[in-house]
């Protein structure tokens, strides 16, 4: 049987501007989680809030999520103190598929870096070479720089301000990749929807398999309420699309299936 966990916050670590890494004690989630999966975390508001899992420590029995304040729910979660206990469901959903993956190009923007960090960690453990492309607003906002470099054979950063890596977005950074970088690569993208759409088109243009992690407003997080659906291409006659649960069949989908 699956269960809802009462998990204590054991560490709070400030990363870049407004980004905080929260570590929780929960042996089951630490042992079961796969990159791209998420947890649904209680707050003082009515609904839980979903966050992609960033790291797991199956020996220390902890896992972490990266949180940035975007509203009242995240604000509440970020005011918690070490020792506070949260009600948590997880690991939830389908994460990244590593079946037949020979190399990954992880493309992240904003908080998308958190689940990609977990994917890069898994790739490293499986001996799969990785390239990491991350976009930030500025150097001040950036985090996980050395961590990404450590896990990837090649790392390219982009910043809107131009004070870190390439000036511009991840799209500008992707242009710097060489043909040998692209050979046999699978692209994993997590970030704002417009970025994922553009990176998907880029991957398609280079005939690369691409997985995207979609984000929708959720309620239950485990598939019963049907509020978080995504539009996915359909083979059925007279039906151009299906509404598929982001929390259950996703959040990671093959980019080629997604109707943006």
């Amino acid at each position: 049987m699956l269960k809802e966990y009462e998990a204590a916050l054991v560490e709070k670590k400030l990363l870049g501007t407004g980004n905080i890494l929260l570590t929780f004690a929960c042996a089951d989630i630490a042992k079961m989680a796969e990159p791209g999966q998420f947890v649904n975390v209680s707050c003082s508001l009515f609904l839980k809030r979903p966050f992609g899992i960033c790291t797991v420590d199956p020996i220390g029995n902890t896992f972490s999520i990266g949180v940035k304040e975007v509203g009242a729910g995240t604000q509440d979660i970020l005011t918690a103190s070490v020792g506070d206990v949260f009600s948590i469901l997880g690991p939830l959903g389908h994460g990244f598929s590593f079946d037949g993956v020979k190399k990954i190009i992880a493309v992240g923007g904003g908080t998308g870096i958190y689940p990609l960090y977990f994917a890069l960690d898994k790739a490293k453990r499986k001996g799969i070479p990785a390239i990491c492309v991350n976009g930030f607003r500025s150097r001040q906002d950036a985090f996980f720089l050395s961590e990404c470099e450590e896990l990837s054979g090649k790392t390219i950063f982009a910043s809107d301000a131009g004070d870190l890596g390439v000036k511009g977005t991840v799209m500008d950074a992707l242009e710097l990749l060489q043909p040998e970088d692209l050979a046999d690569a699978t692209v994993l993208v997590v970030g704002p929807e417009i970025m994922m759409k553009k990176v998907s088109a880029w991957a398609n243009q280079h005939k690369l398999s691409c997985q995207v992690s979609l984000e929708k407003r959720m309620a239950c997080g485990f598939g019963i309420c049907l509020v978080c659906v995504c539009k996915i291409k359909s083979d059925a006659e007279n039906m151009p699309f299906h509404h598929v649960r982001c929390c259950k069949e996703g959040p990671v989908f093959q980019a080629s299936e997604v109707i943006w």
């Binding site: 049987m1 699956l2 269960k3 809802e4 508001l45 009515f46 609904l47 839980k48 729910g73 009600s87 469901l89 929708k216 407003r217 959720m218 309620a219 239950c220 485990f222 598939g223 019963i224 309420c225 049907l226 509020v227 978080c228 659906v229 539009k231 039906m239 699309f241 299906h242 509404h243 259950k248």
Partner: protein
């Protein structure tokens, strides 16, 4: 040993806790968290004759003590339900209620004929005359006593199975629509579906929900639901199933005191998948602590001032 069993018309339930339509799918996901054979019953997601993809865009808005949804009856349709979902549900070892929705009287008739056939392994049909998120059928029928009477009357003779009528609170007089359900041969009324509501994003100056409006559920609506159950209990003679913001055993007891024979748990399952199991456990404890021989003796015991 405390007797938690309840009787709704001709159907016995092991306990009064039933999973509400739209908040448990067909039981697959919750069965990973809860031994479903311990639950009183399960009511399917609202079904329509043909598959529906539901409403586009954002379908949820959080509110104070509740949430708005505008799913719009996304469901696999009658045939896929009979082939894939009903066999799974019959394996759960609990009472099966199927929520029947439709665009027209004809839709409801066809579905009641199929689902209400003696050989179909369904215990109860719940007529959905109350979903607020579709433009035809459902709440548009259930908005008036005449609409309720006509629809229930049109399907009553098509099945011998119990027909529960799930009513909308978005009416001037709930006892009038409940009366109409009773007069047309309904075996019980389910009170209440969601309250129609609106949430606004002040940055975009648009409704949060792409359907503009949605159905409000959760503890925010419990007082309204309780009042409606209590009002109808005094004025009709068929059983009432109470639903609306039930989060714990104390809420169940309130609904039973107000006149409910059984209850449905909806939004609570979204927050805590095992909420129903905890509620049943706590009901047992309550009954023991209060030396109740039978939980069902609580129904309608509210003493008004």
């Amino acid at each position: 040993m405390v007797d938690l069993s309840v009787r709704v018309g001709s159907v016995d339930f092991a306990n009064p806790v039933i999973l509400a339509s739209g908040a448990c799918g067909f039981g697959r996901e919750l069965s990973e968290y809860v031994d479903m054979s311990t639950i009183g019953g399960i009511c399917s997601k609202g079904l329509t004759l043909l598959p529906r993809e539901g409403n586009p865009g954002c379908r949820v808005a959080e509110t104070a003590s509740g949430m708005l949804n505008s799913v719009g009856l996304q469901n696999p349709g009658l045939e896929a339900f009979l082939q894939h979902e009903l066999p799974f549900m019959t394996g759960l070892g609990t009472r099966i209620i199927v929520n029947v929705a439709g665009h027209s009287t004809n839709d409801y008739q066809k579905m009641v004929e199929r689902l209400g056939a003696p050989e179909t392994p369904v215990d109860v049909l719940e007529l959905n005359l109350s979903c607020p998120n579709v433009t035809e059928g459902c709440m548009t029928i259930g908005a008036t006593a005449e609409g309720v009477y006509t629809l229930v009357n049109a399907v009553r003779s098509l099945t011998d199975k119990p027909l529960w009528v799930k009513l909308t609170p978005n009416v001037t007089s709930i006892s009038e629509t409940a009366h109409a359900a009773q007069d047309a041969g309904g075996d019980a009324v389910v009170l209440i579906n969601t309250l129609l509501g609106l949430a606004i994003d002040i940055k975009t100056r648009r409704p949060v929900l792409q359907n503009n409006t949605g159905g409000l559920s959760g503890p925010a609506i419990k007082p309204v639901a309780l009042r409606m159950v209590q009002e109808c209990y005094r004025l009709i003679s068929i059983p009432i199933i109470g639903v609306g913001g039930i989060m714990n055993a104390a809420d169940v007891i309130e609904f039973m005191l107000a006149g409910a024979s059984a209850v449905e748990i909806g939004t609570a399952s979204l927050l805590h998948p095992a909420a129903c199991a905890k509620i049943i456990y706590d009901l047992t404890e309550y009954a023991e602590d209060n030396r109740l021989a039978a939980l069902s003796s609580l129904t309608g015991e509210l003493k008004l001032w």
